[in-house]
């Protein structure tokens, strides 16, 4: 097996070395939050105390890298603002992940006084056709989820005393790694007129900007960069911000490799053309 200097496999250790270097010797970069992320932050900031915010944790561990920092930051923001948070998911494999985020944030010292069922609740997963489930939530939320993730009956929960249906939710944020935002927009946003925003993986970002332009959502947090922006706005830099320097280093490396690759390609082509002329 020959390894030439143009072997693509040489790129992998280079990228790995760059990430290790960036994580071990981090440099705090100035991060200017994007307008779409600021819009989500500002909307939550303006919500009156006690407003109900629904966080749809529609992803599984595969999207953990981008969406867990985002979910954590938004949840912290809501609890810090004394908003009531209702969590749920349409992804069976993300059910436990959502619960772990809610538990972890609720156990932080500044939120220990928050009570499950009163200040926040994680309802878990609801199977079935997503559009139908959202419609059911629009009719009666506690009846759609009769128990929360830990099998506590929802009808007796103080958080649902004045949040009877999806129409009583003041802000809806779908944190998604798939096509759930489309249905949320159709039924949650457009049908029940719930103001909503989307937090998504970077892959979905360009598609979601269309929804932002059409004003179907009033804010967008896309990818690890979006999570980092939110952490900056919250003045609590964590995993999102920590990954930004590594991401910048890889971007520079990719640009350099693209330039080097193209120069090498052109040089090879020119050399072959000369050899072709020489041999007639």
């Amino acid at each position: 097996m020959q390894v030439r200097w143009t072997d693509p496999r040489l790129v992998f250790p280079l990228v790995a070395a760059a990430i290790v270097f960036a994580l071990l010797f981090p440099v705090r970069q100035p991060i200017k939050p994007q307008q779409a992320v600021v819009q989500v932050y500002d909307y939550i900031e303006r919500l009156p105390k006690g407003s109900a915010v629904m966080l749809a944790v529609d992803y599984d561990p595969q999207a953990k890298a981008e969406l867990v920092p985002m979910t954590t930051a938004v949840l912290r923001h809501c609890l810090r603002k004394d908003l009531r948070v209702i969590g749920m998911t349409f992804w069976p494999q993300g059910t436990a992940l959502g619960q772990s985020i809610f538990t972890a944030v609720a156990q932080e010292p500044q939120f220990r006084h928050k009570k499950a069922g009163s200040d926040y609740v994680y309802l878990g997963y609801k199977p079935g056709d997503m559009a139908q489930v959202i419609t059911n939530m629009g009719e009666n939320l506690p009846n759609t989820f009769r128990q929360d993730y830990q099998n506590r009956p929802t009808t007796a929960m103080p958080i649902f005393q004045d949040v009877k249906s999806l129409k009583d939710v003041d802000y809806l944020l779908d944190l998604a790694a798939g096509n759930t935002p489309e249905t949320w927009v159709q039924f949650g946003g457009d049908k029940y007129s719930v103001p909503m925003a989307v937090g998504c993986t970077a892959v979905m970002g360009p598609d979601m900007y269309v929804r932002l332009t059409a004003r179907q959502i009033n804010g967008l947090i896309a990818g690890l960069r979006g999570a980092a922006d939110y952490e900056v706005l919250l003045d609590r830099p964590e995993l999102g911000v920590a990954g930004m320097f590594a991401q910048s280093i890889i971007h520079v490396m990719i640009i350099v490799l693209v330039v080097v690759g193209n120069v090498a390609f052109l040089a090879t082509r020119r050399r072959r053309a000369r050899e072709g002329e020489r041999h007639g």
Binding site: K32, G189, P206, A214, G223, L239, H251
Partner: protein, 314 residues
């Protein structure tokens, strides 16, 4: 071939040895097992080590396809399915079907409620769908499928048209409040772009001049949008105010023209179609860039796990 296999075996053995040695070293220096109140947290330790081994197995694909990668891949799929089945059972099948319809048969103290008998319809449809695996009775599964498709279409078509088409058409053609001078400038810019697209294929000095001017204009616009904090940019940004909507409309129009296949792309249609290709390329480039960023994020997360949770270097 034999040499290559031997090399692969040696590489696999070295990697396994490094993993074992690293874990042994971490255990010896007290990093593993993770301790809580002085008590060894063996489950957590095993979770971390399993995570490291699986990460290494998945990354081994970068070298070449191999049994470790395939084992990890299959384990991942199997675990995912197992978790899904468990969640479906405890969230749906057990509380809504088993506890209501089946459990009463084994518990005389509980009886089936009359209102719950309606559940027999979806249960029956579900069982019919399972017959898809049978060669003789596979046709039965078409009935629940037809019901599902018909129901979903009826339920979702109207909201889908409203949300995915009408709202976006409205957002595209929305009136943009601009000074008449700005409208003239935008019109001239559109003419310039169309002329560039038309003359670009003909070559010569007009094409060169038009390309240069168009690229400068496009570069200026991108700069204003990408770096609003640069000195002097706010003034330009004001000048470009409202231009986004025009560019959006121009993009939609030219891309639609590109997808007209019943006419030959020559003359004016060809020029506008070429402009449409530029918009499509920009769109694909943005999607690709975002995809690369997403993959980088996953890689960074894995290294944060390896350097942080495993090696405790972060």
């Amino acid at each position: 071939m034999a040499n290559e296999s031997r090399t692969d075996l040696v590489i696999a053995a070295v990697c396994a040895a490094v993993l074992v040695a690293a874990n042994a070293l971490l255990f010896a220096v007290g990093t593993l097992p993770v301790r809580q109140d002085g008590i060894p947290d063996w489950p957590q330790t095993l979770v971390v080590i399993a995570g490291v081994v699986m990460t290494a197995a998945i990354f081994s694909f970068l070298y070449k396809d191999n049994p470790f990668f395939r084992a990890a891949e299959n384990l991942f799929v199997g675990l995912g399915l197992g978790v899904t089945l468990t969640v479906e059972w405890y969230n749906f099948l057990k509380p809504d079907v088993y506890d209501v319809l089946i459990a009463p048969a084994f518990d005389p103290a509980v009886s089936v409620q009359r209102s719950d008998l309606i559940l027999l319809i979806p249960v029956g449809l579900g069982l019919m769908a399972l017959l898809r695996v049978s060669r003789s009775y596979g046709w039965v599964s078409r009935y629940p499928m037809a019901f599902l498709v018909g129901y979903s279409a009826g339920f979702s078509i109207q909201p889908a048209i409203h949300s995915n088409i009408l709202k976006h058409v409205q957002a595209t053609v929305v009136a943009t409040p601009m000074h008449w001078g700005a409208w003239v400038a935008v019109g001239l810019a559109a003419l310039l772009l169309a002329a560039t697209a038309y003359f670009a294929s003909r070559g010569g000095w007009p094409a060169l001049v038009l390309k240069t001017v168009s690229l400068s204009l496009a570069g200026c616009y991108v700069l204003v949008r990408a770096a609003p904090w640069l000195p002097g940019v706010p003034v330009l940004a004001q000048a470009f105010k409202g231009l986004d909507a025009i560019i959006l409309m121009l993009g939609v129009f030219s891309v639609l023209c590109y997808f007209i296949f019943s006419l030959e792309h020559k003359g004016a249609l060809g020029a506008v179609s070429r402009l449409g290709i530029v918009f499509l390329m920009v769109s694909f480039g943005a999607s690709f860039g975002y995809t690369v960023m997403a993959r980088e994020s996953l890689l960074i997360d894995r290294f944060q796990f390896l350097l942080g949770d495993w090696l405790h270097l972060l």
